[in-house]
């Protein structure tokens, strides 16, 4: 009897280990393709000492470069952004961020206020799978799930990714236990150039009212920042492609909200020329996103505003921080110069 129990326990343990191994193997690694899927998970190794937290969708992780902000202004920052990151995901990521550190400024890119409903399972996964387990993650999952999704598959991602068994590649084994760092404090570098050839116009909409749920989360975000002693700054990145068009009517609503609640709001679309964005060289996808050259220009411009208006000190006198950031700068420059990918 004792032997039977021992053997059965061993079989159960072995099965558990096998399933855990299969789960680790089958989860996407986001190392060579869809690298934005790795961004959220990279935060936890850098989750301290950031004066500024950028939060939002691709318009933050492609528009601001923390190494430039450090190099030029001595401001430490991290970008908590992922592809099509919805506003409630940003809220819960911010809530989680405050449990790790106390940034002085939170910069939120407002493009996602147009999405009042969960959009895309794949993007949900890129944002949520990378989060560490906490009440914030649970709430983020519950707020984000599309109709086809279920909570259990977030707890056991094998239930979602099991069908990848037929697509297993060398990358899945290589990054089974540890992953490479793909971002520079959340910034996903793009060095390619694809000029924007024509100015976009958005399609006319039947209703320009921003979804109430988004405005509620914006308000929750403001309150959260206030409770944690951080200043919320709203921005809109300068890109304005027809696919992700920022309508004047939306802008007015955000500007009104900002005025009403005494929150700063910077719409960089009309400031693109002043910032020095050259749409023939500063975008890698014909104006949808900035490339590294455009992002550096915007960061330089915004860094000036951050250091002038929000009392952020130049921390380049801190030897330990200098050592850490110098390493980051080296890695950043190497990739910028094409020495690494």
């Amino acid at each position: 009897m004792k032997k039977t129990i021992c053997l059965c326990t061993c079989i159960l343990l072995l099965t558990g280990v096998l399933l855990l191994f299969a789960q680790a193997l089958l989860m996407p690694k986001y190392m060579s393709t869809s690298r934005e899927g790795a961004l959220i998970g990279e935060y936890y190794a850098n989750a301290s000492n950031n004066d500024v937290i950028f939060i939002g969708d691709c318009e933050v992780y492609e528009s601001f470069t923390p190494p430039t902000l450090w190099e030029e202004y001595g401001i430490t920052s991290y970008i908590r952004g992922s592809a099509q990151q919805l506003i409630w995901q940003s809220y819960y990521l911010l809530e989680e961020t405050f449990t790790y550190e106390s940034p002085k400024v939170v910069v939120f890119n407002v493009l996602s206020v147009k999405y009042g409903e969960p959009q895309n399972e794949a993007y949900n996964r890129m944002t949520l799978d990378g989060m560490c387990w906490s009440s914030s993650k649970i709430n983020a999952i519950q707020a984000s799930m599309t109709e086809d999704e279920d909570f259990l598959s977030y707890v056991f991602p094998l239930l979602r990714y099991h069908s990848r068994w037929s697509e297993i590649a060398a990358e899945d084994f290589r990054y089974l236990l540890s992953r490479d760092i793909v971002s520079h404090n959340g910034y996903l570098m793009q060095t390619g150039v694809k000029p924007m050839t024509e100015t976009s116009k958005g399609f006319a909409l039947a209703d320009y009212t921003l979804p109430a749920v988004c405005m509620e989360y914006l308000e929750k975000m403001r309150v959260l920042c206030k409770e944690n002693g951080a200043e919320l700054v709203l921005i809109k990145a300068p890109t304005n492609n027809w696919k992700y068009y920022w309508y004047d009517e939306w802008d007015v609503q955000i500007a009104d909200y900002a005025t009403t609640h005494d929150v700063d709001y910077y719409n960089f679309i009309p400031l693109a020329e002043e910032i020095g964005i050259d749409w023939s060289t500063d975008t890698y996808d014909a104006g949808v996103h900035l490339n590294v050259y455009g992002a550096e220009k915007l960061t330089s411009y915004f860094g000036q505003i951050l250091s002038a208006n929000y009392g952020l000190e130049d921390r380049r006198t801190d030897a330990e921080l200098c050592r850490i950031w110098d390493e980051k700068l080296v890695a950043y420059q190497k990739q910028r110069n094409g020495e690494t990918s």
Binding site: I11, L152, L158, R160, H162, W165
Partner: protein
Amino acid sequence: MLFTSFSFVLFAALTLLLYFTVPKRAQWCVLLCASLGFYLLCGMEYFIFILYTAAVTYLTAFLLQKRADAEDATVAANRDTWSKAERKSFRAVEKKKRFHILIVGLLLGFGMLAVLKYTAFVLEGVNSVLSLFGGEVGIPSLLLPLGISFYTFQSMGYLIDVYRKTARAEQNPAKLLLFVSFFPQLLQGPISRFGALHQQLIAAHPFDALCFRSGLLRVMWGYFKKMLLADTAMVAIKTLVEQSDTYRGVYVFALILLYSAQIYGDFTGGIDITVGLSEMMGIQLTENFNRPFSSKSTKEYWNRWHITMGSWFTDYVFYPLSVCRPMQLLSGHVCDKLGNGLGMRLPVYLATVATWFLTGLWHGAGWNFIVWGLLNCLVILVSRELEPLYRRFYAVFPRLANSRIWGAWQAIRTFLLMGLIRSLDCYRNVGLTFRLWGSMLTDWNVGELFSGGLTSFGLSVADWAVILCSAAVIFAVSHMGREQPLRHRIARMPVAWCACVCALLVAVLIFGAYGIGYDASQFIYTQF
């Protein structure tokens, strides 16, 4: 709530936990609550229909039983005074009265099924006639409650049993409601008999480790069949049917094979989950399958496939029809006019046609189902007529009858024939199906299948590997269990049992077709 959903797994686990923790006398209450809860979770709107069926069944059975008891009491009271003829005459009158009660009960029970399931079909037929004269009637969109065919047939079978006095009516309405709504078999059967199930449902069942192990293994086996074989093949079947203009000829043959695999995995897998779950609770349901694809004739196939439905139709439709008075009169008349041979066979043949017509209708409101039923009937009757020829054939080749190769050929022939007829269920259009059968003779483009065709209709090489490997495993297990189910042997060896359950779990979790990217596919038989 699908059997393959996480919510069902959780629901079943909680039910089992409660079932074995409450006092034994309350176990049936747990089952009743779980059954009603399960049906409510499937859809609140369906609930009223099952309550209606249970109410009609209870009241009719109650009246039948009351009359039967009164009849017996009267006969007993007059045992010494009545002659045998008087007793017989009294019983005949009473039987007629009970028959009238039964008819009302059946009309009310089957009436709801007929209205909900067949109204649109009948009105479409009416419209096709009226359209010749420029007329049209509106077709109402009626709700079709889940599992209605199964619980209606089970309930009506019980009424007939009470009428025939082979079962006593249940006095407790809650216990009868449990018989009608027992959740594991609610959506796709098996269609249980009152005598075989009812006492088990209300009896106390202490935890039996052997039953539990055997049941759990069968549940896992059901998931294996459903999620590896049936649901992986489903994507291809959908494509082959939806693009039937493109996929003709040899692709129709591919569909026949794939659909045979799918429906086998789907239906037997679903029944394995049902029977296994019941077995875990100590309840033994009637087996619905007995290695159907090893059948050597259509008749044998129908004795091995969906056994409970077949026996229901045999007991409650075929036998009563073939011995009913009008049929006897007709038989006598034909015997007189055309000879005994035809006269003796006619009632059987007419009853067979009627039974298969109704079996087709039971499967669905559509001409494809009716033609499917009648084609099965045709094959069975032709086989019967050809029996003397077979006998002569085996007399000439006596070794053939016991030859394994000949047996294998017969099994393959039956499998293909049943698959061919079953494809009516896929295309759901009689004309189209016949044309596509014809295309197998005219466009036998087999080369195309092996030059990329096999992976052109939604199945990757990996999917084919899953289908073929799981089919091979299922075949091997079925073959090994032809004397005694393999799980009974495994359940007696705890370590082997644990290893098998874990292996099945790993196979289902990794290679099963579920989650995002797959259609959450209902079990096919829940539609019927």
